[in-house]
Symmetry: C2
DNA sequence: TCGAAGTGTTGCATTTATGCACCACGCAAT
DNA sequence: ATTGCGTGGTGCATAAATGCAACACTTCGA
């Protein structure tokens, strides 16, 4: 069976007249060209070139095939330009994966702005904390909260997420009662993550741990309902009218936020426009993300 | 850059609706199909299929590409059938490599007969004792005098070549003079091949060695000119009116003659017809080859 | 005649593609 | 709820393709 991709090599040699010259055009080693021609001839069972010291000379059969191959090449190139050009035209879909917690107040307004700018682009949002496979286009762009992303992806760190401690606004009036706060409890996460460590453990009161809710969104809701003190990202809780920070009000830098894509998408104008836009959008949200937009 | 051969995988998956089913059609492993589709999508920067547990579902873009790809496939298949069918039609060229000594009285009549049977076939004869490369069609069929051919070629042993000792016919009348023969000399080959070994050394007189001619054709001519006794293949010398065998007239089985081709030519009707024809032709020449057509 | 520059080919090391075995998941039947 | 059968995907071993360095050959100019 013919390898259709060998047609590229055939065409290049027909035009260049030598395997070394064709190799430069094709950006491969010249021995590869020689071997690809050999295997193409074998598959066809016919000789396409005379090998001379001045290069490869086409046989009559090669002349016949060349015309057809040129036509097919033109057709294929048209298809390819149409599809890839579709990306350059800033239309079609972009698949974005992110943890749900980032979607609401933080990123969604940015997505909406981007879509307003480029009405031909559809954004599909995939909420997942799993590492979706960017290589087979399960997603094109990933927002990830990690210390260090995998080597095989490209991207940049666009923010450092801060967290602080929050209480339901319904209970805010109790903060002025002496000793009331110290009797509240954390809303726990899991058996292992019952109490905080780091700056928060050091600077905030030592509450007991109660409940187990391993989801920031649900922690937020439970907190609003008065179930305890929640440690929440600032970008989310500081914008929520039903939550208030508790004393000493400080935030802790805790998580790195990255925007990632597959290296092969570097040349994709659509994806890169999106990445650029969101990076800039988030740069303008830095005070919120780092907990500085908090007002008492 | 698109790998054009990936189009085959794309087409197969479009038609089969699943990678496993397409893999059966394409005679590859299903993971290969999956990976080839993934890399095709990556190269295009667009998704062509939704992955479901019931198989791959085409996107709208895939529907568009499918039509074009089907058309190109039909064009390519037409080209392929035309070329390979050309072989099946018993026309075009066959390149044959062989040592010169085999070409003249032994094989050439067979070639002529084959060409008469198939007037659309051209035979190119390449005289060479070198092992021409059958993989890149320097030659299609090789006649070789070897004990054991390389593993990567296919073929069969078609004869065992015999050799005997010959004298110029001009000197044949001297054979009846007592002691005359013993005073003649071998026509030597090289410094290392000055005297024969084996049956010939054992059964024939011990001549001294004179001259050095490392070519059977030239040995034959030198012998006719009276330069000495030559050891020559029977198929050649026994047909030559200017040469006579000397007593004790016996021949020695010495060389294996093989007909070889590249494994990928097994399905090539033209080549296989040629191989079959020549094998049968030589089977009918066996008495000559093994020295039994000698008449005193 | 010799050397330089072009050509193609060979052998070996490295990289990439493929196959195999296993796994995960969804769906239908029991 | 469990099992069986279909689907696609992952990790590792193996095979194939490619790149690199060296070589062989031809041609041209000094």
């Amino acid at each position: 069976m013919l390898n259709w991709d060998d047609l590229k090599f055939f065409l290049a040699v027909c035009r260049a007249g030598s395997v070394r010259s064709a190799a430069i055009t094709l950006k491969v080693n010249h021995t590869t060209v020689s071997r690809r021609i050999n295997s193409f001839e074998l598959a066809l069972g016919q000789r396409l070139f005379e090998r001379t010291s001045q290069g490869y000379v086409k046989t009559k059969l090669a002349d016949e095939i060349y015309n057809e191959a040129s036509y097919l090449e033109e057709r294929l190139n048209t298809v390819e330009r149409k599809i890839i050009g579709r990306d350059d035209e800033l239309s079609g879909d972009i698949r974005v994966t992110l943890p749900e917690i980032l979607a609401t107040e933080l990123l969604m307004p940015g997505f909406a702005k981007f879509c307003h700018l480029y009405p031909e682009i559809d954004i599909e949002i995939i909420e997942s904390v799993k590492e979706l496979n960017l290589a087979n286009r399960e997603a094109d762009v990933a927002f990830r909260i990690v210390k260090q992303p995998p080597d095989y992806l490209v991207g940049r760190k666009i923010a450092v997420l801060h967290r602080a401690c929050y209480l339901s606004k319904k209970l805010a009036h109790k903060l002025s009662e002496p000793g009331w706060l110290e009797q509240q409890n954390w809303i726990g996460w899991t058996d292992k993550l019952r109490k905080p460590i780091g700056l928060i453990a050091k600077e905030y009161p030592r509450f007991s741990s109660k409940h187990k809710i391993a989801n920031a969104q649900l922690q937020s809701i439970a907190c609003k309902e008065g179930m305890g003190i929640a440690i929440l990202p600032c970008f989310k809780a500081d914008l929520d009218d039903e939550l208030v920070r508790i004393p000493p009000y400080i935030s802790e830098a805790k998580y790195d936020l990255w925007i990632l894509s597959h290296p092969d998408m570097r040349k994709n104008n659509k994806i890169q426009s999106f990445v650029r836009f969101m990076t800039e959008y988030l740069a303008n949200k830095n005070d919120l993300i780092e907990g500085r937009e908090f007002t008492r």
